[in-house]
């Protein structure tokens, strides 16, 4: 793909993303009915769950890119892995901030060590560790390889953390989608939020990869000049 096509694609993506976000905001705040017991507070659910799903997507991308890097040793996979880890941490920061805001009035506590909460927190910690490792390795090829190895370890660890805590009882609301517990009138808002967050993820990944590739190019030129 040449540069102009890429730039056009980004512009189109940006436009679609903008429209999707406005639509999602309208659906979540205006169109979706008010929840019977929690009132408007429940509306945070649309963003909270969408951010969690998108963050998990990002970490999945990080894992896949890490495996691809170990197999192929192509730096483009490393750039994608880095972009995915950073955006994943941001999405989980959203999850960890919106969660307690909802939990305090509903559960009467900011935090509880249930599997879902603990996993979100541990995922955040794991990928911050991933970013720390990257920061402290100078050589780009070694950094890419070691980061890929740690990314693989982190992603495999996630289900183990989950099941380890599952042992104790869970007070977190069960996934509504599996049980079909979500009211049909709320579904458009929910799926619009998920779709726009996933689009945002794609957009951010593309921009971050482009930025990283420019940064690498600059480093290479600096080395040539120095």
């Amino acid at each position: 793909m040449n540069k102009r096509t890429t730039a056009r694609l980004d512009m189109v993506l940006w436009g679609v993303l903008g429209l999707a976000m406005i639509a999602a905001l309208y659906l979540a705040f205006v169109d979706a009915p008010r929840e019977r017991t929690m009132g408007d507070l429940q509306r945070i659910f649309y963003f909270h769950v969408a951010a969690a799903i998108t963050g998990m997507t990002a970490f999945g991308v990080n894992f896949a890119a890490g495996v691809a890097y170990v197999a192929r040793r192509d730096r483009k996979w490393d750039r994608l892995a880095l972009a995915a880890a950073e955006t994943g941490v941001v999405f989980f920061a959203i999850v960890l901030i919106t969660g307690p805001i909802w939990a305090k009035p509903v559960w009467m506590v900011w935090w509880t060590w249930s599997p879902r909460l603990t996993l979100s927190l541990v995922l955040c910690l794991l990928y911050i560790a991933y970013l720390l490792i990257r920061r402290y390795i100078e050589d780009p090829d070694r950094r890419a390889m070691i980061a890929a190895v740690f990314g693989i370890v982190a992603f495999v660890d996630a289900p183990l953390v989950w099941f380890s805590i599952r042992w104790w009882r869970d007070i977190h609301p069960a996934p509504m989608l599996e049980s079909g517990g979500i009211d049909p009138a709320m579904r458009p808002a929910f799926w619009a939020c998920v779709a726009s967050f996933e689009l945002l993820l794609v957009y951010l990944l593309r921009r971050r990869c482009a930025l990283e590739s420019m940064r690498e190019e600059m480093e290479r030129l600096e080395r040539l000049a120095g």
Binding site: Y136, M145, A148, V149, F150, I152, V153, D157, V161, S164
Partner: protein, 222 residues
């Protein structure tokens, strides 16, 4: 197999000659026990409830020191390059280091455990075999992933400082089940209740042992 044995014996020989790591691990483990006594104000809490958590925190801290030391030694004298010339799969190097790390940790754990019996006023004769099994499996899980991450940490600019930061989030499932299992044993639970944590600890060791065995060569500097 002979090569695995050679790596294992080499690490053991270095340690037995200097006893640097082991002494530090023991001492630090006991210090952690003392610190926790005051942090928890142990006079007020049931020792059988507090001991499992405190013990495993002490083990984990001591283990982190030991793993760091095991790779720092190689780094200081450029020994890792020599080891990498060994005519064997790099995974063998991983296994040798992992087994040596496990032996050091178990040795340190034995002393820390005895100290904790004194500090917490515990009597555990009947529970000893089960405790031994849980300590062994928990330690294997810890070193399975710890050896890989120690090799990663020692290759960064931050060196040893980074290990606890990257290791503890990963090791969480091991800590959870090891603490739970220890608590069950001290609480007088039968072997039946130990099945789940013991199975999880074993599974963790196998899963991460395999991943580390496969990926270890990639984290070593070429």
């Amino acid at each position: 197999m002979t090569r695995l044995w050679a790596v294992f014996r080499k690490d053991l020989a270095i340690e037995l000659r200097t006893k640097d790591a082991l002494n530090t691990m023991l001492f630090f483990g006991v210090v952690v026990l003392v610190v926790f006594h005051f942090a928890l104000r142990s006079g007020d809490v049931d020792p059988r409830a507090a001991a499992p958590g405190v013990l495993w925190v002490a083990f984990a801290f001591a283990g982190t020191l030991g793993l760091n030391r095991m790779f720092a030694v190689e780094k200081e004298n450029g020994c890792l390059e020599g080891l990498m010339m060994m005519p064997a799969d790099r995974g063998v190097l991983y296994l040798g280091k992992m087994l040596a790390g496990t032996v050091f940790m178990l040795a340190a754990e034995a002393v820390i455990f005895v100290a904790s019996l004194v500090f917490f006023n515990l009597t555990v004769w009947g529970e000893l075999p089960w405790l031994g099994l849980v300590f062994l499996l928990g330690t294997l899980g810890f070193t399975a992933v710890g050896t890989l991450l120690a090799a990663i940490a020692v290759n960064t600019r931050m060196r040893e400082v980074l290990l606890p930061v990257i290791l503890f989030p990963v090791i969480l499932p091991v800590l959870i089940h090891a603490v739970e299992a220890t608590a069950l044993i001290l609480g007088g639970a039968g072997p039946g209740e130990l099945k789940l944590p013991v199975a999880v600890l074993a599974a963790f060791t196998v899963v991460f042992g395999t991943i580390a065995f496969l990926l270890f060569e990639h984290v070593l500097e070429d």
